[in-house]
Every structure is written in structure tokens, then in C-alpha cells.
Point group: C2
Chain length 261, copies 2
């Protein structure tokens, strides 16, 4: 068992509970070789994040609820993504019109934007729409289409038409990976389409990507770093990429990581 870093232990606890449906504090403490109090801290953090639910003596899955589709979601690097989200929220002024695309980072950005005023939101990400319609002053618009159950987003040809119908102040999108040449990569054709559509119909294009995306490969090519206006990330990009960014006049925002609990 040895020393597992705390973040990973939490991810593993979440995984364990999802697989088993529930677990006691005692059992988890034994399983990971730490004190019950430590497990309690982990478990409470996970509950605060909405991933698990507390039971006296243990934790369980937030039954039925809409968390099942998150099964595949990474809890890892959540702190970095949250830092990026905060930074992006700082760049968007009240009253702006914003297009937000699919992905976990845009979702966190949405949550960070919810305290703004009078935003106009265009998104094909249901999680984003949900988070933002909590603010009564926001105007949230969705394209129609088939829902990708796993990700709770909408993809397909209609998306391109949808985003082409508006010219927004900010286009915000994530990416599957950025290779060393600065090519933007995704895992599916349809993901690329929506991204391209947003990129083409906004006054400022913000790309959000945590450091794990640098040099990471994915199958579908779509667009290039040079086309975006701002890159928001959590660590300085590798030198080669930094040079390209500089040459293309892309502003790079480094988001300082903060404590989350």
C-alpha cells in the first residue's frame, strides 16, 4: 500500500465507493492504512464536492441523482481546473455574451461564473446550462439535438449551425490535447466541430487547458493554438510551445493554484 498521495487516495476512495455502492469509514481506514480521522477528512471533501453522500458511519453513492454519468470523470487535477476556472471568471465582465463548449473545465468555469450579472450564455453542455440557469438574471440558450448520455452534452451537425447564429463576446472551450506543434486535438470528430464553430463566431477566443494537455495526443485534429486569443492554463507551457504562442500574439494567463478545502 505504501504512501499514496492524498489526492490520489481521494480519487481511489471515490472509485471504491462507486464500485461497491457504499463503504464504512472503518473499512476505508483499513483499506488505505490511515486513521479514521483522515478518511473522514477525505470523505467530507468528496461530499462537499457533491461526489459522495455521507451516512453515519460511512459514505454511499448519491443515489439515483444525476451523478451516475460522472462515473468516468476524473477527479484528478480538479484543483488546477478550478484555478483556471477562477481565472477565466475574472476575465469575463458582467453583461457579456459567452459561448461555452463541452468538457469538464468549461463546466467548472460555469460554476465560477454564476455570481456574475446578466450574462448571455450559449452552450451545448447541459451541465453548464444547468449551473448557469441558477442565476435568474442569465439568459441561457441551448441548441437542440441528441444528448450524449455519458457527458451530458449535445453534439452533431446542428451545433455548427447553432453557434453560427450568434456572434458572442467570448468563446470559451477546452481541448483533448495540444501537440508540440500547437495543433489542437480532440477524441471525436463531433467534439471538434462545436469547438471550431465557437472559434469562428466569437470576438475573443479563450482556450482553457491544464498542463496535462501539453504534448498529449488525441486523434482528431481541429484548429491551432495560433487561432486563439487567450490561453488560460495552470503551468507555463513547454518552451517550444511558448515560443509559438508568443509569435502568434496569444496572451497566456497563468492561474495560481489555491487550496480547495
Amino acid at each position: 500500500m505504501s504512501h499514496i498521495p492524498p489526492e490520489e487516495r481521494r480519487a481511489r476512495i471515490a472509485e471504491e465507493v462507486r464500485r461497491q455502492g457504499a463503504a464504512t469509514i472503518d473499512a476505508l481506514a483499513g483499506r488505505f492504512g490511515v486513521t479514521e480521522q483522515t478518511i473522514r477528512r477525505d470523505v467530507n471533501a468528496l461530499c462537499d464536492a457533491g461526489l459522495l453522500r455521507r451516512r453515519h458511519g460511512g459514505v454511499e453513492l448519491p443515489v439515483q441523482r444525476e451523478n451516475l454519468p460522472y462515473e468516468s470523470r476524473q477527479v484528478l487535477h480538479q484543483a488546477e481546473k478550478q484555478a483556471i476556472a477562477r481565472a477565466v471568471a475574472g476575465l469575463v465582465p458582467d453583461g457579456a455574451s459567452v459561448a461555452l463548449s463541452i468538457g469538464t473545465t468549461p463546466e467548472l468555469i460555469a460554476r465560477a461564473l454564476v455570481e456574475h450579472r446578466d450574462l448571455k450564455i450559449y452552450t451545448n453542455n447541459l451541465n453548464v446550462a444547468l449551473a448557469l440557469c441558477a442565476n435568474p438574471g442569465f439568459e441561457v440558450t441551448l441548441p437542440g439535438g441528441r444528448v450524449r448520455n455519458r457527458y451530458r452534452d449535445l453534439v452533431g451537425a446542428a451545433q455548427t449551425r447553432f453557434f453560427a447564429g450568434y456572434n458572442v463576446d467570448f468563446g470559451i472551450f477546452g481541448v483533448g490535447g495540444i501537440d508540440d506543434d500547437g495543433e489542437l486535438l480532440d477524441f471525436a470528430e463531433e467534439e471538434v466541430e462545436a469547438r471550431q464553430a465557437i472559434l469562428a463566431n466569437c470576438r475573443r477566443a479563450l482556450l482553457v487547458a491544464d498542463h496535462t494537455k501539453f504534448g498529449r495526443n488525441a486523434v482528431v485534429r481541429g484548429g491551432h493554438l495560433a487561432e486563439v486569443d487567450v490561453l488560460v492554463t495552470d503551468r507555463a507551457p513547454p518552451p517550444a510551445m511558448a515560443a509559438r504562442l508568443d509569435a502568434a500574439g496569444v496572451t497566456v494567463h497563468l492561474a495560481p493554484r489555491e487550496a480547495l478545502s
Copy 2:
């Protein structure tokens, strides 16, 4: 303070917590003049229903989460609505195509349908879409449009076109009220439109309405009881209405109320 029936006390606890943001068990016990243990029982039931979240020593709002828009939602009659939802779920076979409309009852129906297999869902209710895309075997399709933040649904002219594009096995919709003549009533023009569109494009039209809808007035008229195929409710309708239903050949399903906790 006197004797408050338990169901109402729970509704009031929920209301209290929503207004204050949080409350201690101790305070609630004093506020309602009952033991802490009783409050614990109430509070745990509300948490199981996903309306509140537990804190050591008290309860709080499920922060940020998508529950804020429920502010205005009735917790009252939830047991009845849930009974109706179970009954409807029993009427829908695996593999069916289903159109579900806006409202809290359709939302509960969606949750009751989530264990089915291979359903095709068409809905303008985001809560319904969310609940049902948790099942990987379902095909969920949404119309596009502006989100009504308060209700998390989509309304407007595009809805009519959307539902007209499919001919589904079951059309399921709620209603604002049913007057004594059997007229179906709603509170807004746009709510009626989607309902009419579903009614016109399904092989079997299911109307769901708890007993409080009988004889209740609302402003916008749209359709008549006689046009539906099945009415699912929790209590026998008043005699005059029953006669009309019988004359129109509408099947009436009475859903037996069960304990919820």
C-alpha cells in the same frame, strides 16, 4: 405552534433552511417544539429526498448544486406525485418512445423510468433529460431554445416544430389545472403549446394530475380531458368530471399512495 402534522413540518423545515441557508438540529427542535430526535428523522428524510444536505449538528443547502431553482417548488403532495409516477412507469414498456413535457410530475416520472430499458425520450424538460440520460441505453433528444431558468425547461415556438417531428408511443404531460368542464388549463401560453404539440403527435396520450388539480383554475385554456387516452391520478375525480371521462372513453388509473420514508 400547537400540533403541526409531520408532513407540513418537514415542508416548513425545508423552507426554513432554504431561507436561512442552514440550521442546527437544536434550533429546529426549539422552533417546532419537538425533540431533537424527531427533527433528525425529518431532516434525514429530506436529505434522502435530496432537498437538503447534512452537516454534523445540523443541515444546510446542497450548495451551488442544481437545487436552487427548486426554490419555488412544492414539497407538498410529493408522496401523491410519486405514487402517480410509479403508476405511469408501470404503463410504459421497455423499448418505447416517450415524449415527456414540463412540470414536476413528469420529472418524477422520469426518475421512475430510469430503470427501464432502451427508451427513446423526447422532452423539453431539462430535469427529465438529466434524469434519463443516466441510463446509458436511453436515447434522449432535446429541442433547442431559451431555457426558463426557474423551471429548467425549454418553451417557445420551436417546441411545436420539435414534437411534430416525431410520432411517439406515449405522450406524457402534466397540467396547471382541470376545471369542472374538463378543460385543461395552464398558467402560460407557451406551456400550452408544448402540451398541444405532444398531444397531437403521440399514439397514446397520458395526462398526469394529482387531485389538487381538479377544479383548480388557471388562465390559459388548451385542450380538453376528452382528448387524452389515459388519466393517471391519486384520487377519484369529482362525479361530474368522472362522468365526462367515462363518456369520452378515457381510462382512469388510480395510483395508490404508499409510505415514502
